[in-house]
Symmetry: C2
Subunit: 322 residues, 2 copies
């Protein structure tokens, strides 16, 4: 996401500070762990969650140092979930780089994730209230429940839109909502502002994940930084496919999906059918609905540069191709 | 460990309360996760760490409800590390039951561990100070570093006693030390008592892990609840083998160890050589040294029933055969 172009100077500076803070926070004398973490922290990513922490906090009394600590903690939390997620998905590439597990093995990946998790809590122990901490733990639990849900629902061709939406809310949107409120609370935002930001975070997260799932069908590996079509190969059926299963393509799709493993031809066949069925357009329309709702959520907020950046990121998220 | 026989009634009651508290704390509506956790929480284990929390706190102003919360959090933290540890070790049996990963797959095991970790922090957010929380995160980081160290040192036949001792301190002893101090701090113990308990926890943890590593060579699966000889098969060389490599058995041992994979015969050969070399006795003497030191650590504490239980557990730990 080329969000940089519409960042204000202060936001650019603060995002740079978050990057530096993350590198410092993740120092370890264990050399292998240090190598792994440097690769992870250096491989970029969109840093959307810490950006949301910073932008949201600007609607209150912005305490820079504390907010940068929180933003870093949230990004490290996200990194931890990615590392563990890649173990589950048996992913070999992420952000255009080999994943921790493909390069160093699942074993190192498990403890790298745990190390990142504990760093999150040690950072938070400096800045947040116990209520916030409880909230962070609750979101991590939700993510775990969402992931196990997803795993348990694999190869389930009767999965409903409703259960898909619940799963991605737990898996993705709750962490965006947390990113928007954890800073806002610290900045003593009013209840109205707080609620607006919380709703925005949730709806933005839904958009983000639905688009991610769409790109899994139509994106190209070079752009995505990871192989396309990887989800349904693992039996994880996402919105475009769920919609496609609700069309005349149901039977031909089931014919392929019911096979044990899929070869390249099967993958291409499923992708072609999902496209032809209109499943992608319908998923895109659902994402657009959430995007409209997210924009609406921001209405109670004052019209300032930070709100404009949030809206611009929202637009880019709907349009993104990688 | 049949420690129950010398527990006082109040300790028995409090340990029962910890068990109930753990079950309540780990409730989730995600059915699979709930099944996994019930198996884990139900499969027993020695509950030594929460016991240390409770016993240590008795040397100060014992606030029962708070201490039971802390004791439960520490046991759940231990459960989390076990679940992730089993992924690393590719373990199929633990506490006489199939491991989470062998029964439900590595994927479920990763997120079960994460769920447990986040529960720890949500419990701690109710009772501890931020200093304690920072301390818990630091111990978890240490455990991760210890585990990655161990992984990185696999098949290293030049591993030193010193580096082995450092590794087990991080991997095991630091959590016992934390168990002894987290409650003691809450109970407002004096600095002298606090330090005595911290040293005891560390030394006790060293004894515990060295004996565990000895049993990996001489224990039997039926007694251990897990296959014996599993560590060196994975290239993890522990104290008895490190000592054996320092004897005339070095060359014949290296002959077997340098093979890629080991068959049953190789495993038995290595075990027999380690025994014949005196490596086990020497490791047992090292454990005894730590046990003597642990008993000495407790000297500043008043002679009461709780100190007697601690000493009895220490004795049993040196003598245990499973």
């Amino acid at each position: 996401m080329s969000a940089f172009e519409f960042y204000t100077d202060d936001i650019k500076q603060d995002m740079g500070a978050v990057d530096n803070y993350i590198k410092r926070a993740l120092k370890t004398h264990q050399r292998l762990l240090s190598d792994v973490i440097n690769q992870l922290a250096g491989s970029g990513g969109k840093r959307l969650r810490p950006l949301m922490v910073i932008l949201s906090s600007r609607f209150g009394d912005y305490k820079r140092d504390e907010i940068i600590n929180l933003a870093a903690a949230i990004e490290i939390l996200h990194m931890a979930t990615l590392v563990h997620d890649d173990i589950i998905d048996d992913a070999s590439i992420r952000r255009g780089e080999p994943t921790v597990q493909s390069r160093w093995g699942k074993n190192v990946a498990v403890f790298t994730g745990d190390f990142l998790f504990s760093t999150v809590f040690s950072l938070l122990s400096k800045e947040v209230s116990f209520d916030d901490l409880y909230e962070v733990s609750r979101v991590v639990k939700r993510i775990c429940e969402g992931e196990v849900d997803q795993y348990q629902q694999r190869y389930n061709t009767t999965v409903s839109v409703r259960s898909y939406l619940r799963r991605i809310r737990h898996k993705t949107a709750d962490l965006f909502a947390l990113s928007c409120v954890i800073g806002a609370k610290r900045a003593n935002c009013s209840k109205t502002v707080y609620n607006a930001l919380k709703n925005f975070g949730t709806d933005f997260g839904m958009v983000f994940q639905i688009i991610d799932d769409i790109l899994d069908f139509e994106g190209r590996q070079e752009e995505l930084g990871k192989p396309a079509g990887a989800d349904f190969e693992d039996g994880v059926y996402t919105l475009p496919l769920i919609y496609a299963l609700d069309t005349d393509y149901r039977m031909p799709l089931l014919n392929v999906l019911s096979k044990g493993g899929y070869d390249t031809h099967d993958v291409e066949t499923v992708k072609a059918m999902v496209k032809a069925s209109g499943g992608i357009e319908r998923a895109r329309a659902t994402a657009q609905n959430f995007a409209d709702k997210a924009a609406e959520d921001l209405r109670p907020l004052p019209d300032n540069e930070y709100k404009r950046i949030m809206l611009a990121i929202l637009d880019e998220s709907v349009e993104r191709r990688y």
